[in-house]
C-alpha cells in the first residue's frame, strides 16, 4: 500500500458519518459499480424508451408468417416478433413497464408494510401480537403462489398484478421495520427522550422511524429485483394486462413459446432483459446492505 493511499483513506475513516462511510464503501466496491451501472442503464432506457425506440411497440412494421419470422438485421436489431412488430422497440418499452410495475408494487408494499410494522413496533403488546401473527400467516404461503392467488382473485389487469406483488412484500417490510423499531426502542436516546417527557408520537415518527429505515432501503432495492421477476412470472402464467399488446417482458416470453423451435431469439431478448434488470437491482441492493451495515464498518 502506497503512502498516498493511506493518506486519502485515513481522514475519511476516522471522521466519516454513516452516510459518507457507506458512500465511500460503495464507490470502492466493483460489484456495487456494476449494479449501479445496470440500474442506471435500466432506468434510463425505461424513461427514454419513447424517444429511443425506433418503431412503435404495438404496431406491425413488417410481414411475418408462422414459419418465417425474420431475425436480427440492421433495420431491426432484435428482429421482428410473431406479429411483425419490432422486437428491439418492444424490449425497450418493456423496461418502462417493468419499472412502472416494480416501483408501484414496491411503493404499495412499502406503505402497507410500514403501516403494519409501525403499528406493531410502536404499540407493542396485543397489537404487536396480532400484526405479527398476521405477518406470519402471510409469510407461510410461498411468495409467488400467494401472488398468483391474489392476482387471480382480483381478476386480470396490471393493477391486479401490482397489488398482488405488493401484498406479498407487505409482511417482509412489516417484520423488518418492527424488528428495527424494537431494537431502537431500547436504545439510550429513546430512553432519554422518554425521560424528558417527549410524546410517544414524536419519538416514534421523529426518531425511531428515521433511524430504522436503513435496512428498509436495502430491502426495497432487493425487492425491486424480485418484483420485476415476479411480474414476469405472473405474466408468463397469463396474469397480466388485458391488453396483450403491452410489451411486458414476461408476457413476451410466454407469447413466443410456440416459436421456440423456429425463432428462439424471441425468447432470448426479453429473457436477457429480465435477467439484467434483476441482476442490477440485486447487486446494488447487496452492496448497499454491506455498505450500510455497521458491522462492516472498519
Amino acid at each position: 500500500m502506497s503512502l498516498a493511499q493511506v493518506e486519502t483513506v485515513a481522514p475519511e475513516e476516522t471522521g466519516g458519518s454513516l452516510g459518507r462511510d457507506a458512500w465511500r464503501r460503495l464507490r470502492r466496491n466493483p460489484v456495487a459499480i456494476v449494479g449501479a451501472i445496470l440500474v442506471i442503464m435500466f432506468v434510463a432506457l425505461a424513461l427514454l424508451a419513447p424517444w429511443l425506440a425506433p418503431y412503435p411497440p404495438d404496431k406491425p412494421v413488417g410481414q411475418v408468417t408462422p414459419t418465417s419470422i425474420p431475425g436480427p438485421s440492421a433495420e431491426h436489431w432484435f428482429g421482428l416478433d410473431d406479429l411483425g412488430r419490432d422486437e428491439f422497440s418492444r424490449v425497450l418499452w418493456g423496461a418502462r413497464w417493468s419499472l412502472v410495475i416494480g416501483v408501484v408494487s414496491l411503493l404499495l408494499g412499502l406503505i402497507g408494510g410500514m403501516v403494519l410494522g409501525l403499528l406493531a413496533g410502536a404499540f407493542g403488546g396485543w397489537v404487536d401480537g396480532l400484526v405479527m401473527r398476521l405477518v406470519d400467516i402471510m409469510l407461510s404461503v410461498p411468495g409467488l403462489l400467494f401472488a398468483i392467488g391474489i392476482a387471480a382473485m382480483l381478476g386480470s389487469g396490471l393493477d391486479a398484478v401490482m397489488i398482488a406483488i405488493a401484498v406479498v412484500n407487505v409482511p417482509i417490510f412489516a417484520r423488518l421495520l418492527r424488528g428495527q423499531m424494537l431494537a431502537q426502542r431500547q436504545s439510550d436516546y429513546v430512553l432519554a427522550a422518554k425521560a424528558v417527557g417527549v410524546r410517544r408520537r414524536r419519538i416514534v415518527l421523529g426518531h425511531v422511524l428515521p433511524n430504522s429505515l436503513t435496512p428498509v432501503i436495502v430491502q426495497g432495492t432487493l425487492t425491486l429485483a424480485v418484483a420485476i421477476v415476479d411480474a414476469a412470472g405472473l405474466a408468463f402464467l397469463g396474469l397480466s394486462s388485458n391488453d396483450p399488446s403491452i410489451p411486458e417482458w414476461g408476457r413476451m416470453l410466454a407469447d413466443t413459446q410456440r416459436y421456440l423451435s423456429s425463432a428462439p431469439l424471441l425468447a432470448v431478448f426479453p429473457g436477457l432483459a429480465i435477467i439484467i434488470a434483476a441482476l442490477g437491482f440485486t447487486l446494488l441492493g447487496e452492496s448497499l446492505r454491506e455498505a450500510l451495515d455497521p458491522k462492516y464498518r472498519r
Binding site: Q63, D255, R258, S262
Partner: protein, 559 residues
Amino acid sequence: MRRDGMPLRRPAAVVAGLALAISAAACGGGDDAEPGTGGTQAAEGSAFIFASSADPAILDPAFHSDGESSRVTNQIFETLVATEEGGTGVVPGLAESWKVSEDARTYTFKLRQGVKFHDGEPFDAAAVCANFDRWYNFTGLAQADSVSYYWVTVFRGFAKNESDTLGKSLYGGCTAKDDGTVELKLTEPSAVVLSALTLSSFAIASPKALKDYKADQVSGTAESPQFTGTFGTEHPVGTGPFKFGSWTRGDKLEIVRNDEYWGEKAKLSRIIFRPIEKAADRAQALRAGSVHAFDYADPADLESLKSAGVQVLERAPFNMGYLGFSQRTEIMQNQKIRQAIAHAINRDNVVKTKYATGAKVANAFMPDSLWSYTEDFTEYDYSVDKAKQLIAESGVSDPTLEFCYPSGVSRAYMVDPAGNFQLMKADLEAAGFKVTPKTSPWSPDYLNTTQAGDCPLFLLGWNGDFGDPDNFLGTFFQSFSNQWSFRNEEIFKTLGDAEKEPDQAKREALYKQANALIADFVPGVPYAQSPSFSAAAKNVRGWVPSPVLNDKFSTISLN
C-alpha cells in the same frame, strides 16, 4: 336453437398445465407393438396407434358431440348417407339410394342388403326405425342439449319435450315399408335433413345391443352427464369396418377389424387410440415413433415435423373465423361504424401472419368451397381512408370499442386469438378507434359472455358439421340471438325459406341472396378460413382427412 360459434366437434382446448404435462408425458410411451420410427417397416398386422388429445366422451353416437368420440365411432358405426372422401358432398352409406319428395317432407331410403351388425343382428328397415324412434323418444337428461346435441340441433325437439327451449320436433315418424325401404316423414319441409344425416351422431346402432346394454340410462347433470349403461363404454355395436375391442380410460382404446364387413374390409387389423393431452407431446411421441398419427398439428410446428420425416396432411378448410358484433350497444347499431370496422381491418395481414399456408381470407360467413358460394356481394377492402371517412360520416366522435378475445384456446380458424386481437387492435387504432381490451378463458366464461351478447366486438368462429350452407348461415343469422342482438327480418326470412325450399336451384339462389344481404348489413367481419393439419408417420398410407371430421380409417395401411 343452435349453439352459435361453439365448435363442439373439436377437442377441448389444450390448456397448459404442469399436471397435464406430467400425465401426458407418462402416456407418451407405449407398451404395445411399437411402431417403427418414420420409415421403418412395421410388421404386418401390428396396431396403428393414433394419438388423440383426450378420451372420447362416450361411444354412443347419439350422445356425443365431440371430435374425440366421433373419430372412434366413425369407424364402428355407419350412417344412412355418408360424406364423400375428402369432401362434404353426400354419398350413399347404409342407404344405397334415396328420394326426397317434392314438398321436402318425406325422405325414402333404399337400404343396402345383407348388412349385419357386429353382434350378428340383421341391419334392416326395422333397425333404422328403431334408432329414429329411440332418438325421438329420449326423456329426462337424454334431452339435454349437452347430451343429444345434434338431434336437438337438427330435429329441434322430442316426442314429449321436457324443456321450454326445445321446439316442435321436425321428426314426423319412420316407417319400414319393407325390409329394405325406410320412409322418414318430417313435420315441416326441410332440405337440410339429408346432409345432416351424414353427422356421425345419426349413425345406426344395433337395437338389440342398445336395449341389452341400457344405452338410454343417463344420470348426473346436464353439465356432466353420467352414462350408467354399458352400451357407450363397453358394447358399442354398429355395422362399421371396425369392432370395439377394449377401452381403459386415460390409457388406450382399441378397435379391431370387422372381418364380416359388407364392403371393402379394413386394411388394418387393429387401431389403438391413445390420449396425449398436449400438442407438443403428441408431436414428440410421433417423432419418437411411439404413435403413428395425430390431428391438429400446430402450424408453427409443421416445418420441424416435415424435416423430421413426418407426413403432414392437410384437412381442407371447412371453417370460418369472424369478428362478431353484438348490436346491443348504440355504437354497434350504427351501420357506418360497422362498415368502418370492416374496412379498417387488414384481414390479409392477419391471415398471413397467424395462419398456416393454405389459409385464406374469408369474405362471407361460409367457406368458399361450399355450394351456392359466389362473390356476388359487397366486399370491404382494407382501407384506412375509407374507415376514417365512414367514422366521420357516422356522427360518432371518439368511437370507443370494447373488444373481447379468449384465452386458452386454439382452433384452426383462430390459431392464436390474442395474436389476432393485437393485429386487429392496431388496425382499428390506426383508423381512429379507441379499443378497450377484455379477455376471459374460452370455456365457459368467454363462450357465455359472447353468447349473452355482452361483448360489442368478439372473436369467434365455426367449424362446419355437414355440407350445407344452413350449417353456417342458418346457424348464425336465421333468427334473433343475443350473441348478435339484431333483428333483420329480411335476412331471417331468406334463410328460413332457404332451409325449407326443396328445389336445389332455388335454394342456391336464396343463399346467394342471403350472403348479399348479410354483406350489406355487416353483422360482423368474416376474416379467415383455414385448413387444419394432421401428422402421420412416413409409413402411413391411405389416410384422407375429411373436412367435416368424418375420417374413415379403414383405408389406412402401414407399409
